[in-house]
Symmetry: C2
Amino acid sequence: MFEIKAKDGKARVGVLKTNHGDVKTPNLMPVIHPRKQTIDVGKYGADIVITNAYLIYKNEDLKEKALENGLHDLINFDGPVMTDSGSFQLSVYGDIEITNKEVIEFQEAIGTDIGTSLDIPTAPYVTREQAEGDMEITLERAREAISYVKDNDYDMMINSVVQGSTFLDLREKCAEELSKLDADLYPIGAVVPLMEQYQYKDVVDVVMHSMKHLPDDTARHLMGAGHPMVFALAVAMGCDLFDSAAYILYAEDDRFLTTRGTIKLENLNEMPCSCEVCCKYTPDDLRAMDKEERVNLIAQHNLHVSFAELRLIRQAIYEGSLMELVEERCRAHPLLLDALRCLGDYSDDIEVYEPRSKKSAFFYTGPESLKRAEVTRHLNKMRARKTKKNLVVLAGNRKPYSKFINKDYKKFYLYSLDEDNLTEEELSKFEDGIPEGFDLNIKDENTDYLVFDIPFCLIPLELDEVYPLSQNEAPKINDEIAVEFARDFLVEYAEKYDNVLIHPRIVDLCELDYIDLYVDPERIKVRKNDLEKIKSIADYQFGDGAGEALFTGKIEIEKSKKTGKIRHIFDKKQNIVNMRASDSLLILSKLGAKRLYSCSEGMKNKVMISNSVESFARDGKSVFSKFIVDCDENMRSNDEVLIVNEEDELLAFGKALIGAKEMNDFSVGQAIKTRKGFKK
Amino acid sequence: MFEIKAKDGKARVGVLKTNHGDVKTPNLMPVIHPRKQTIDVGKYGADIVITNAYLIYKNEDLKEKALENGLHDLINFDGPVMTDSGSFQLSVYGDIEITNKEVIEFQEAIGTDIGTSLDIPTAPYVTREQAEGDMEITLERAREAISYVKDNDYDMMINSVVQGSTFLDLREKCAEELSKLDADLYPIGAVVPLMEQYQYKDVVDVVMHSMKHLPDDTARHLMGAGHPMVFALAVAMGCDLFDSAAYILYAEDDRFLTTRGTIKLENLNEMPCSCEVCCKYTPDDLRAMDKEERVNLIAQHNLHVSFAELRLIRQAIYEGSLMELVEERCRAHPLLLDALRCLGDYSDDIEVYEPRSKKSAFFYTGPESLKRAEVTRHLNKMRARKTKKNLVVLAGNRKPYSKFINKDYKKFYLYSLDEDNLTEEELSKFEDGIPEGFDLNIKDENTDYLVFDIPFCLIPLELDEVYPLSQNEAPKINDEIAVEFARDFLVEYAEKYDNVLIHPRIVDLCELDYIDLYVDPERIKVRKNDLEKIKSIADYQFGDGAGEALFTGKIEIEKSKKTGKIRHIFDKKQNIVNMRASDSLLILSKLGAKRLYSCSEGMKNKVMISNSVESFARDGKSVFSKFIVDCDENMRSNDEVLIVNEEDELLAFGKALIGAKEMNDFSVGQAIKTRKGFKK
């Protein structure tokens, strides 16, 4: 069983429950060679290991011991043990002396926690025919294995491996077929040759296409990935487990693993990390040692580095800063940067999993950040937004923007003008600039005030404290790609308006064309209006119209005495919503939930749960995934949601812990933390 | 005394020699509080520490003990100890009760290894008047201190601190004046407030301008910098020493230092590194401890992380990969990325220090890499290169380019055409493409074949194995900034030719205008000519004309049987030069040196040494910096150089260990590793 504890994009911190204890993921399973293990991997951080059932099966002595005393005793590890089936040997030697059923039986017999069917690891770049044929066998064996395990009521969990070589549609198909089998874990196989050749871009394509069709409530294992250099990237794609013999194989070759690559001892002048081994010895010390001692110490270092990286990755997921870590790690090699650039093409896929609000700020680390899910999401929200007649584009200074407005401009350029609404005579007056007496009709009620900034392009002034529009940081020295990206969005967006006025700094920065008129900023009044602000936030958060529906009656706004920020909003004395200080998003109260419900058509803002658990929801109890019947497809984790029964009656409201896609997939775990229920 | 062991750009691995032993730099001096030190910093990696002489002076008890048993006994550290003078207290409290002379006297009396005069740390962004006034006092006190130390024949080394606030010309002036004093170390002061405010860009400006006028043979200390996040960047600017109390101050506030920033214990779900503390404890363990134990452990972690980063930095300098580390580290915060972008503006300053060839490949990590010294240098070399009549621009596939040519193109576009050499009638034939019979006259002897690739833009086909034109890696997915950068250089360079033919893939990639004619590639023959190749390399390496001068007579070229690469070049049986396999640069033999000498006018390719050491050079002994009279200003470390006497007679030849700027600055250490001398 697999439970998710924290999410960041497609990445998650999870707990994999096995007969030999729980494993926190993402995690690495060091490969244990059943015959010659010299390192006590548990001592250096391993919570789970993997070994090869086929190698044990083939060796009479090992086989006997394993069958007699069990696998855990054989390899002297009392935590969870996964076994591979011999498909690696199959890929190397071409043929092996065991059937699929036999290997499943054997794995159960020796007490494996997680067994594997005999898949066919198809190499990259083979013919389509071969990839397809291999995949069919893999699928067939997976089906056979799972029904065998079920029929015989086996205790062991089972892996079903995704294959399909580098044919992305085959990867998708294989994943889709496997997902119907309800396996316990889904490894993604045969990516090792790609990683060995630094074809990280192809790894991204293969993994993302496999991932698209794998269920979200199950752990995914990137088979054979064991270099800490790629962990962060793989986790960002949704991988939960890694396995590798790299720690020992590299050590035997005097190579040190680091998150920045591999270094040979002969090239080391200084020890590369903060681990015990690196603090205690110098490269010369190691070079002077006998081989066995040296290999042992380098393997320790390799394990320390790997587990430290996994801790850092889990920490980043808790913080919501995993992509920042990935963007940093992908600078270690240009072909990893290639992979990061390729990952940007999956921004829409990732957005679906991206929490609405996170603990940490969004950091712009380079043009690749423009393809982050947060940016994609905001631009899409903007595109769907209702617009007014006029647009004023302000320059972003410091954040929050609304506090630092009206300070540094002397004129505004007219970028476009609604000529249709002018008479011939009026138009003729524009020959020498905007005529003094001419009324541009820039008034709050008919004008949108948007701030131009990188990387979020256009930020409505009223949303300037909403996550991540305020909670982000970019370099002050802009790069041309970012400027062009934001410029293109501005040009696209300006199309929606009759009249567009633009701050001169933006005109310069973006080298905008066709500006020959300007207007005195005194003629533009940006008024701060709290009611407009909360309505805008409600519309951005819940959809157009939510603001009007929520904030009717005698609206009273209570602000923090300390920060001056809006905190509570009432109709007379009745609380409608509260505003969260960290991200300026609205938290519903009972009245707010009712009003939002009144304006939410169809499934908008809603999660529909089975009538069988209606009373629990009304009692304010949290909602579990398996009782969800339907939900708003635009729901993301951390969204405020309405909980309704199958007749669309409002039962309760709360905070989504997972997004719409996951609500559909998950059969275990909490989906909504209910804030309050409406008793019948 | 300070000796340089390895260089990478402005960064160096050095050894600082003191009365209490040698210190490898870059290094961190943990601040020891004379009254309340609880951590044995030496145990966690400190080789040198810093403490405050004024605090000792002010406390009767400490003062007495220090005067009686010495400073090292007082703080219980037997390695080198630096003392600060109380200027920090001056900056905080405004006034202190000690004179400059008194503090110098006191530091010598207690046995400080490196003392400091009483400088005035001027805050950033003060008025120019204040910055100038403060600087004058700082300079005056530095002069006073140094003459006092000299007059009294003190044993202690002395710091002269660069001040000048954020006025870059004042920083330059201060550094220039101080450099005349021949101090033992040059700290750069008062950057802490900038770092606290994340004004890393301003730190770069201040440090680079200070650095410009500081001697290269002396250690530079970035005062108060103690966060491992900035070490790599600071080292890349030429800083050798850091000091900080951050390890303990942050620990007291439950904060963990990491190379990616600071994390508060309350926000930690997982321990952030591979150190002993992080492997042994969980955040919950630490939270449950009593404060003293916890602070001690966090301080240990902070020291482990800091020293590990310094080891990694030194390793990177040995490898020649420091900028890759800097570019990675500067992704940790957008304002560090800002600093990296700012550092790009100093590319020319850094190029002067950049070794000609390095062990590691150049990695493109983003558009910032386009401003790396290696790129700047190559483009300048190209600009100075003699060109032929015609240019054929080939597309870069795999490296080495010349091996993978002639494979993927069907036609070449004519980018420009020498219309002046055509008759009216000939021109008219071009209306429908390049006429079949028309002789474009593309022949090896009148045509340059350049490969277009990112980031080095245009690479002469004959130089395709020369460092770093082959030893570099970039993502396959190009970014627009890089494409535009390379395109601009191509357009600039194409100006030099009469006829320019361009590979269609480049035309597409760069969206080049005015292409309406094309030519069958069969009409272009790229012939590989080894003699042309070695001549080109010689010209690139030693300047135009060197190839002709070196390779006359009956040239025989011997290749490696294994790799097919050129290894040795002879005139009949006499060796002229050898080609180094790793970077394809030429290594002179005696005949080569003589021939190069014959064509090298003025100081070109030469180092002139004092006649007093002529016989040592003729005997093949290495040349020390202090005997250098003059040298080619374009000399860089790892260059092959001719050694001449004051009468410009050729004495010997060898490899430069430092660049021209350093040869002028340095008074100690080797400058040239002599290969062979010419006996008289």
